[in-house]
Symmetry: C2
Subunit: 345 residues, 2 copies
DNA sequence: CATAATCTTGACACCGGTTACCGATTAAGA
DNA sequence: TCTTAATCGGTAACCGGTGTCAAGATTATG
């Protein structure tokens, strides 16, 4: 009788002349096992092309091998970078990634997430900003008994549950660079309220100006929501102020692209009339003209690290190389910054 | 003794005073079941918050509830749109999406994919372009016994395995629009070789010109690879030709954005000096200045339909509403097209 | 050489659901 | 009343792996 489908552990055991338990030992690399037996079983496995059934394994081990990526981030490139970094970490393991976009602002968001976690009984979840900044989401994971790691722009949880970048410091450095170049009238296009990243970046901006003794009038701050349009609108406002700012720090690249457009529509030359620094270093930063000086946000590395943190201890703690929890962003100097044309300090 | 963990089917059966078989019947919506009993069991399920263990179900039913999204598309927005559409279709079902990016051009791509499919024993996979255009990938799925649905820009498989847009016709319509506006010297920035979409779009462009009796000199065609930079480079070439084209069709939006930049660097006004049409209608199309006239590619709807096609027949064929296989793209008229300034026909 | 300690290995129950088979109970129809 | 059908339970086997525990083989020790 022709066996259909994949070979099972029983087939391997029968052909190798051992018990299924022994085959199981081979699969799980049990150390208490004769080398000859192991070799023989491995040969049969290779010959048959046997692959253990993940569902059966999951059932017997009482845990599955699914890791969730929970996100409500509007930036496609960012989400994909995170997926990329996460999958890198999962590469070679038996874990798979399942993706769960959340509808930010939806009243049922928390219930949706609970339902998702309970149904699938995930091994763990990786929380992307901005949903990762929501403490009740973390509490929910805890109460369900689902491991989680949060990604964010500031440390808001212990190192076991958090992978963060240091946006405040990075923006401070970037702003200091503008000051070093001679800028004194520097505008800020801030991110949306409720985003921790927006807050941290704004704080870093204020830090730098305060340290340099530069006043920051309210008129030099415009709100945005991380979209191209909002950057454009915010720039209209800032560029209406007289005297005009000679430089603008934008809380992300997308808005910086909007600022560039607004400036160009007014006939301003970048960087001669207006210097701009963005944040993220998404592809758009290199595409705009002139190429955007920006802060590189290592989101893919963060995701990779977060995923490793999540699955650490899943195996026998063999590779318990403590994953870093804090990532430093670096300033990428391109062509959108120069000293101000009118040195009027 | 305090029971830890989730309630099992046995708990439900005991409390409801029925057998686990009956509970199973309720879960699987067996028709031969008294309404009273069903109600009682459902109440207990709700009370306990019982959720069937997906792994155990998958094991017993000999199939799992994972659907793969296989992609090697470089456009983040496109990939995310597909994920969005796919998850919409999976909403409310017991299926989950696992994502598998493939390294295009990698020699081991096919082996990677095989390994993935065999390990996870997916219920099915959704193939995104351009990998979906690879027949050996489809053959691989077949040989492994994994259902698949391909997405693409032309019908290259039977309707059971294919969801396609009609790019050729859409581009023909778009090009005809340029001709109607009075353009006669129309350039094409083509997509990369090996992309079916690139070929279809080029054919549609040629169709329109041939039908209008307009010659298409080789100098009016420039190759690109769907990136911003390649669009910029291609535009440099086309705009060097004398007499200059008065309009350019770009095979995607990203390249169209590059073309806009190139034109602006030369001091050309869009659309007065140069009309441009793109393809995809990604967010970038609305962000550039002027807003880009483009062809809307309903990729999210296609993904949704593809996913539904994939899981159709998973249930008892109850909802066998034949999913559409062909999607029509529509022309979105914005501000990047006008009649040519120099009517020299 | 006897005995203990160690290494290998297999029998068996179990994870949490499923189906198959058969029997029991109840209700409806003849 | 008897037949028939619908509804449900009991038991058992099964999906394809895992843990426990003890037996048999091997080696070290007295």
């Amino acid at each position: 009788m022709q066996k259909t489908g994949q070979p099972t552990i029983n087939d391997v055991a029968r052909i190798a002349g051992v018990s299924k338990k022994t085959v199981s030992r081979v699969i799980n690399r049990s150390p208490l096992l004769n080398d000859d037996t192991r070799k023989r079983v491995e040969d049969v496995i290779g010959e048959l092309g046997y692959i253990p059934n993940p569902q059966a394994r999951a059932l017997a081990l009482r845990r599955n091998f699914l890791i969730g990526l929970v996100h409500d981030n509007p930036n496609a490139q960012t989400v994909l970078n995170v997926q990329q970094g996460m999958l890198e970490a999962l590469q070679g393991t038996e874990f798979e990634m399942v993706v769960r976009p959340l509808d930010r602002g939806s009243a049922t968001m928390l219930d949706d997430l609970r339902h998702f976690l309970e149904r699938q009984r995930l091994f763990g979840v990786l929380l992307m900003p901005p949903v990762s900044e929501n403490d009740s989401v973390a509490k929910l994971c805890d109460s369900i008994g689902c491991r989680y790691v949060r990604m964010g722009s500031a440390v808001i949880d212990d190192s076991e549950h958090m992978v963060a970048s240091n946006d405040r410091e990075a923006v401070r450095t970037a702003t200091e660079y503008l000051i070093e170049q001679g800028h004194r009238r520097i505008g800020l296009v801030a991110g949306p309220h409720g985003f921790r990243s927006a807050r941290e970046r704004r704080l870093g901006f204020e830090d730098a100006l305060a340290a340099a003794g530069i006043a920051l009038p309210r008129s030099m701050i415009a709100d945005g929501n991380y979209t191209f349009e909002s950057g454009l609108v915010a720039a209209e406002r800032l560029l209406d102020v007289m005297p005009r700012p000679t430089a603008i720090f934008s809380s992300n690249d997308e808005m910086a692209a909007g600022i560039i457009h607004a400036a160009r529509q007014r006939g301003l030359d970048i960087p001669r009339d207006l210097s701009i620094i963005g944040f993220d270093d998404t592809p758009i930063a290199a595409h705009v003209w002139p190429p955007l000086t920006t802060v590189r946000w290592p989101i893919a590395s963060m995701a990779r690290s977060a995923a490793l943190k999540l699955i650490a201890g899943a195996d026998d703690g063999s590779d318990l190389v403590e994953e870093p929890s804090l990532f430093l962003s670096t300033l990428i100097r391109r062509a959108s910054v120069s000293p101000p044309a009118d040195a009027d300090t």
